[in-house]
Amino acid sequence: MTRQEQIALAVAVLALALVPVVADDFWLVQIFGQSFALGLVALSLNFLSGYGGFVSMAQTTLAGCAGYMVALTSVNAVGKGVPLHPVASIGLALGVSALAGAFVGWISVRLHGVYMLMLTLALAMGFFFFAQQNVELFNAFDGIRGVVVPNVAGVSLRSPKIFFYMSLVCSAAALFAVMITGRSPFGLVLKALRDHPRKAAALGFDVAAHRIAAFAGSGLLAGCGGIFYTWFNQRISASTVGLGMINSVLIMAIIGGLRSPIGAFTGAFAYVLINTFASGLVGAERVNTLVGSAFVAVVLASPDGIAGAAKYVRSRVRQSSLFERFVAQPASGSARSAVNE
């Protein structure tokens, strides 16, 4: 993570922290809160695929594991599970999603590309059908309704400003963690696995252990998103871990750009905006047409997504004559003389 990226992230977080001054509760929770929750799930996919080259379709399921766990350990309207102290509830939820992540990583440890995609999708669909049919624990199709979000010092964590800031801080921390991992030994090894797994093993890296650890880490990220998403809806049901949601997370990650971690959140934000406002513009039955068209447009125009397009624009601006003349003259001047020497 370069100094510039650190500054950009800090500026973005500070700017977002001022949003509650101008935005109403609808924007704080429905748009930003939801974007952060889904963005965390998309980030877990971005982390796996951007560093290790693992395309996992099970990230929504990992988020769902944490979501179900937090719902079952909170007071809820269907009377399932055992209410626990919020800290224990959150800890258990994250533990379960990390374990589930490790399990997915272990099952798919020898697979690559489309084979990994198919297997993780099969696991995800298995979990979906189980959740949809199991009444004792998952309350089948209806799921866990009326999940009570915990209070801290008499204030509900679901109150708009609190929910906004909590999800913002958690998202920023997760993004920061993923970005610094990119230059850590662990992150470099993951990239090496993507480039040439056999060579990585020949150099002494335990390929299987790294893959499983990466999936467990992605489970932790997805789990954070799953907890926020369950609190946001105050319910979780089988449709939350269904194919529609799995596709949505994939679309967010790709619209935003898989090459850079920030893409997960720009993609989630774009998706939530379209999903929320498109039905008013084009009618509820055409929302998916619009989402699909946006997806195709992004993939065709900028394969690296919104984040990739932003980078492209930035580099074009740097190269343009206006920028050189007015902004970067001293630097580019010395660079040119260095080349001449």
Binding site: I180, R183, S184, K191, A192, A202, G204
Partner: protein, 249 residues
């Protein structure tokens, strides 16, 4: 008497009915330069794959400095002092030359879980730059490997193998695909390797092979058919038959 650096006894590998290696016996002394000669399909790379742990032998055993490698997985063999290069360069395309060399040193030391970012000025990264200079890549440390030429990738791969601080180094046709202009640099590099590294090298080019080798083993159809000094092998009738196609005798 000290243990041989590499000792292979009765090694065989079969893929179904195909016997890739029939029965290989070989002993390489510490510090020795051994070159494997042989036509395509003789089993040279298969032998490397078994030594490195990428393939399990059907029978026989391999020992490194007296230690039976048995079914030790490939990644652990790197930590007991084994390094190898591949016939077609195996490097990490999307990463810089420095990161490639850093990873090579990291893997052999078994420290690979650090979650915190590494500084380009830290000791291991500085060492990576030194390792780059050793194989003639000093000017390219920050370049992405995807932009390197074929010859530079060969240099980098040898640099990575050296950064592992190996005791036994397996080079699979290091000069393959190099232009005549690039070859001398690579040969020089191999000749300059310190003698505390034992070297086993596959090479098709007789001139290179005989220049580097202390001893030469010639393979054919999954067997070692001749063993000896370069001078002996040069005049060995069996070797001449293989290389000059003389099955007419």
């Amino acid at each position: 008497m000290s243990d041989p650096a590499l000792s292979i006894e009765g090694l065989g590998v079969s893929f179904g009915a195909l016997q890739a290696l029939e029965s290989i016996d070989m002993s390489v002394e510490p510090g020795e330069r051994r070159v494997l000669l042989g036509t395509n399909g003789a089993g040279k790379t298969t032998l490397f794959n078994v030594i490195a742990g990428d393939l399990s032998p059907t029978r026989g055993k391999v020992a490194l400095f007296g230690r039976d490698l048995g079914s030790i997985p490939a990644f652990r063999r790197a930590r007991v002092g084994l390094a190898r290069t591949y016939q077609s360069s195996a490097v990490f395309e999307s990463q810089s030359v420095r990161d490639n060399l850093y990873l090579a040193a990291l893997g052999a030391r078994g420290r690979q879980w650090g979650p915190l970012p590494v500084d380009d000025l830290s000791e291991p990264m500085q060492q990576a730059a030194v390792d780059a200079a050793r194989v003639g890549l000093a000017n390219l440390v920050d370049r992405c490997v995807a932009t390197l030429s074929h010859g530079q990738r060969r240099q980098l791969e040898i640099g990575m193998a050296l950064a592992q601080r190996p005791r036994l180094l397996l080079l699979d046709e290091p000069a393959a695909g190099l232009s005549p202009g690039e070859r001398p640099l690579l040969i020089e590099l191999v000749l300059a390797l310190p003698r505390d590294i034992t070297l086993v090298m596959i090479e098709h080019d007789m001139d290179v092979a005989l220049l580097v080798a202390d001893r030469v083993s010639v393979m054919k159809n999954g067997r070692v058919v001749a063993n000896g000094s370069p001078a002996d092998v040069r005049v060995d009738p069996a070797v001449r038959a293989i290389y000059l196609g003389g099955e007419h005798a």
